[in-house]
């Protein structure tokens, strides 16, 4: 018997901060324009080079370098919409990306899982994506399902299986495929069309979107660009995500890294706007730092780089994938994970950004601890409380009650107390006690709660004919992949 999926809860903009002045943002944008004009980006896809060349960019065909004049960048970016909708299965799960709300997503895409039953670490598989989709469907703070791990049991068609596992196990918007081996992206578009019901509906309320990572510094991936062009043609939104690492693939200064990332992202968005003006794109820069002794990846930086990324996205007139997040570089669920999660959650309403949060993974977004999604969700809910907690009507001010009670008394016997004390959200995870009155370990409670949801929450299934059609699409994709269509 299906269970009702609760409404999604975005975070509003009451506590939004503003870090950079408009003039500072303009300086950054000018930096990007100069880099694209004077240095250019590496574009290893002939179709993309042709699009750039047709619209007046300077293309070095041998080197596959594209230099784009500032006017052309500005003209292309002018056609990108500031606001668009990411569709859910029902309209109540639609996300309107217009800056008013911050919608939270899962993290992705990891490659290992701490198994729910054996608690051993192993390679991820499609069943993990199914499990997480079902549990995340029950969590109201999660608005956007990014398959947190890879369906590694499916080789080259893994992205399509991740998309399938998401679409069939949650009513929420699904990140449907990242970079997909070239001819297979069409199958993801087909899946989106079947779930949406028609081409028109897919364009109006696309049930999936994609995220394409650029390659720092200043380069693109051929399959990534091909996927993005396929999706853009179908009206499916694409975010380009730059992941510059200060010290190795980017300068060791925060704004140097941001400007490298911005040039990559903007060049990707320009390509899509030149090919399909007005197609929905969004902007994402996730900056990290090279550990100077180990060369390791440190994403949890005490620098407001994600806030800059959000402000820069908005300065370019597009929504942002990014903002604060609860992901962590630490292994396991210890002190550092707590710090990264608590601090990341508290910044969510401050940084803003249309889609962010990144719940569920540890070790630099590589390893899934299933119960972490509940711990993360709990603190994201706390962040919502911070941003939405206060009301000032007469009943909330309670002046009559204070007068009636007077000094040196108590409020326990007041009907007003009985009525309102229930309004406070008592955390199931943080404020749970043992029968002896001791506090329970939240990580242990989270694991129990995860298992309970997994055992009991069954999202409304897609109609049988849609499910059959999706299976048919997957089979066809498998056949093409087996025939070598993925090169």
């Amino acid at each position: 018997m299906p269970t009702r999926t609760p409404d999604i809860v975005p975070i509003g903009s009451r506590l939004r901060g503003q870090l950079l002045e408009p003039s500072e943002l303009e300086t950054l944008k000018q930096g990007t324009l100069r880099l694209l004009d004077e240095v250019g980006v590496h574009v290893p896809l002939r179709r993309a080079l042709e699009i750039f060349a047709d619209h007046g960019a300077r293309v070095n065909w041998d080197e596959q370098i594209v230099q784009i004049a500032p006017d052309l960048v500005q003209e292309a970016m002018a056609t990108a919409p500031r606001s668009f909708v990411l569709g859910g299965r029902e309209e109540r799960f639609d996300l309107t990306l217009d800056g008013k709300n911050t919608y939270l997503c899962t993290d992705g895409t990891g490659v290992e899982v701490v198994d729910l039953t054996t608690r051993e670490r192993r390679a991820s598989c499609k069943e993990d994506v199914v499990m997480m989709a079902r549990v995340c469907d029950a969590l109201p703070m999660l608005s956007f399902y990014w398959p947190p791990v890879s369906a590694q049991d499916y080789g080259p068609t893994a992205p399509l299986h991740q998309c399938h596992a998401g679409l069939t196990n949650t009513l929420k918007h699904v990140r449907g495929g990242m970079t997909i081996a070239t001819p297979l992206a069409e199958y993801a578009v087909e899946m989106a069309t079947v779930v949406a019901g028609s081409d028109e509906e897919r364009r109006r309320r696309p049930p999936i979107c994609t995220n394409i990572c650029t390659i720092a510094p200043l380069a693109h991936d051929d399959d990534g660009l091909a996927t993005a062009l396929t999706y853009a043609e179908a009206g499916i939104p694409t975010s380009f995500m730059a992941m510059p690492t200060m010290g190795s693939t980017a300068p060791a200064t925060p704004l140097g890294a941001i400007v490298v990332g911005d040039a990559e992202v903007v060049s990707g968005m320009v390509l899509l706007q030149l090919a399909h003006p007005g197609c929905p794109v969004f902007h994402s820069i996730e900056t990290s730092l090279m550990h100077p002794r180990t060369g390791g990846y440190i994403a949890g930086l005490p620098l407001p780089l994600s806030m800059v990324a959000v402000e820069l996205a908005h300065a370019w007139g597009v929504p942002s994938l990014g903002g604060s997040g609860v992901s962590t570089d630490a292994p396991g669920l210890g002190w550092q994970t707590g710090m990264d999660t608590g601090w990341g959650a508290a910044l969510l309403p401050i940084y803003g950004g249309e889609v962010c949060g990144y719940m569920g993974l540890v070790e630099g977004s590589m390893v899934l601890y299933p119960e972490k999604v509940l711990l993360d969700h709990e603190l994201c809910r706390s962040a919502y409380d911070l941003a939405h907690g206060l009301e000032f009507d007469e009943s909330q001010m309670a002046l009559d009650v204070i007068r009636d009670v007077g000094p040196r008394n108590h409020f326990l016997a007041q009907p007003h107390t009985r009525e309102h004390i229930r309004d406070f959200r008592l955390s199931k995870l943080l404020h749970e006690h043992t029968p002896e009155g001791k506090r329970r370990d939240p990580c242990e409670v989270a694991l129990e709660e995860f298992r309970r949801i997994y055992d009991t929450h069954e999202p409304e299934p897609l109609p049988d004919d849609v499910l059959r059609e999706l299976d048919r699409i997957l089979e066809a994709a498998e056949r093409e992949a087996a025939a070598g269509g993925n090169r």
Partner: protein, 486 residues
């Protein structure tokens, strides 16, 4: 005696702010406070305080000990309270200039149990713990001033003075007491402050000691606490009032109602001080909790409750005084996921609201239990917030366009001199990402324990001079004779 330099303070200086309440909402809250003080009033069991209230226009019922304050009396008294002043320290470079630009933080207090430094067993706290943690706090640039972090329970009636003795002997920073709760004790504490300052004038210009007094929710004052506060104020030492009203039990079961009741307690106390000593430095401290509806327990870290800490900052400023904000603090029982997850949120938000001072670093179990390594753990979070809020430089060296051009697409930045110069300027956590020989990273809690031990072994702040120590011994001796430890 050889000693080590105390590192410079690194206060939080936010590059941007957020505002939770509109001016109109703040005025509504203030209006509600004025209404409660006028119509309901507060309970004041101190004859001395009642006389002061009565002499300055309040309606005082000496039988019921009820004081009602007309709005114009409150406003007039509060108009004398300074918005900005200096909290001094033993050495001038540790003076805290409360001028609205920087946020200075203190340890938590006043816990009653300690995880022993050597045996790691849980036991009652003692004076030696106060001294040891003062030394750790002295070393940490995160700590702007020191709250005696636990109680010197090996000293019975004069414990608060022994806490000050242990503090002043082990840190050159400003000390704020939260346990001196009667007039005779306060007179000894003021004497100690005078010994540190050297003379009365310096003590008033750069007071090395301040006091915090808790009100009693709802709407009541403690006799000893208020009389102690008057002694501090008379000496020119800053004194603040904290309400720990608990939504549902000692305050209404709503956030706005709790804010009003708590604000009324704090304002009534500040008004008394301004009536007695116009212009005396005071501060406002809003640290309410929420009652756990099933256990009756105190929930200090439900985030909607922490919203009250941040609104407290805005309210303090709306009344024209500095704030002592609630920061860090956890209901967790041990350092770990929950302790860290709960630590940073109130700190972040109160900093963004422009808090002047805050306290709460280093204890677990709702401010009652000291894990020695917790102060170092909280310091790591402190610096993370500090650096994040400090903003970014936007000069051309930072943008590095020439370096990017030189490297070009698909290159790397490892061998650029710009990288070498700047990677060293990035600030790294002292605890996280500490590599060990097998390539994995060490447990940050273990690193924090080692670091705490290292500080205790290696850091000895500039001691008091012999005359000051002799004077402290004389004061403690007199206090023990008068107040009953002997």
């Amino acid at each position: 005696m050889p000693y080590s330099e105390t590192p410079d303070l690194e206060p939080v200086v936010p590059s941007y702010r957020v505002q939770i309440l509109s001016m109109e909402e703040l005025e509504r809250l203030k209006g509600a406070t004025l209404e409660i003080l006028e119509e309901t009033g507060i309970h004041c069991p101190s004859p001395k305080a009642l006389s002061i209230y009565a002499q300055h226009g309040a309606y005082v019922n000496r039988e019921t000990k009820r004081v009602k304050l007309p709005p114009d009396v409150v406003q007039e008294a509060m108009s004398h309270a300074p918005r900005f002043y200096t909290m001094g320290a033993r050495l001038t470079r540790f003076d805290l200039k409360l001028d609205g630009s920087a946020f200075y933080c203190a340890t938590d207090g006043c816990g009653v149990e300690t995880i022993d430094f050597a045996t790691r067993e849980r036991r009652s706290s003692i004076k030696d713990d106060v001294g040891k943690m003062a030394r750790v706090a002295d070393y940490l640039s995160s700590i702007g001033f020191y709250w005696p972090i636990v109680s010197a329970q090996d000293h019975a009636a004069t414990a608060p003075l022994h806490e000050l003795d242990a503090s002043f002997n082990n840190t050159v920073k400003h000390v704020q007491t939260e346990t001196v709760m009667d007039e005779p004790m306060a007179r000894y504490a003021v004497e100690m402050a005078k010994v540190i300052a050297g003379d009365e004038e310096t003590m008033q210009e750069r007071p090395p000691l301040s006091s915090l007094v808790c009100t009693i929710a709802p709407l009541a004052q403690d006799k000893g606490g208020m009389e102690s506060a008057l002694v501090f104020a008379e000496a020119g030492l800053p004194v603040g009032f904290m309400s720990m009203a608990n939504a549902g039990s000692t305050a209404p079961g709503t956030l706005a109602g709790t804010l009003v009741a708590a604000d009324a307690e704090i304002v009534a106390a500040m008004v008394l001080i301004q009536m007695a000593y116009p212009g005396a430095p005071v501060y406002h401290s809003m640290m309410p909790g929420i009652m756990h509806p099933r256990t009756g327990g105190y929930l200090g870290t439900a985030w909607e409750g922490e919203l009250m800490y941040a609104v407290g900052v805005e309210l303090a400023h709306a009344w024209g005084v500095p704030t002592l904000a609630g920061i860090f603090g956890t209901d967790a029982q041990v350092p770990g996921w929950q302790q860290a997850a709960e630590a940073g949120s109130s700190f972040l938000l109160t900093a963004l609201c422009g808090a002047d001072t805050g306290s709460g670093m280093g204890l677990v179990e709702s401010c009652t239990l000291l894990y020695p390594e917790c102060l170092v753990l909280d310091t790591d979070i402190y610096h993370r917030v500090r650096i994040d809020l400090a903003g970014l430089e936007t000069g051309s060296e930072e943008l590095a366009l020439d370096v990017i051009k030189h490297v070009g697409p698909r290159g790397h930045f490892l061998r650029e001199s710009h990288t070498r110069d700047h990677v060293r300027k990035r600030e790294f956590s002292d605890l996280a990402a500490q590599p060990q020989p097998d390539g994995s990273y060490r447990d940050p809690i273990e690193v924090a324990r080692e670091r705490t031990d290292w500080i205790l072994e290696n850091h000895q702040p500039k001691p008091l001079d012999d005359a000051q120590r002799a004077e402290f011994a004389r004061i403690l001796d007199a206090a023990e004779r008068e107040l009953g430890d002997r």
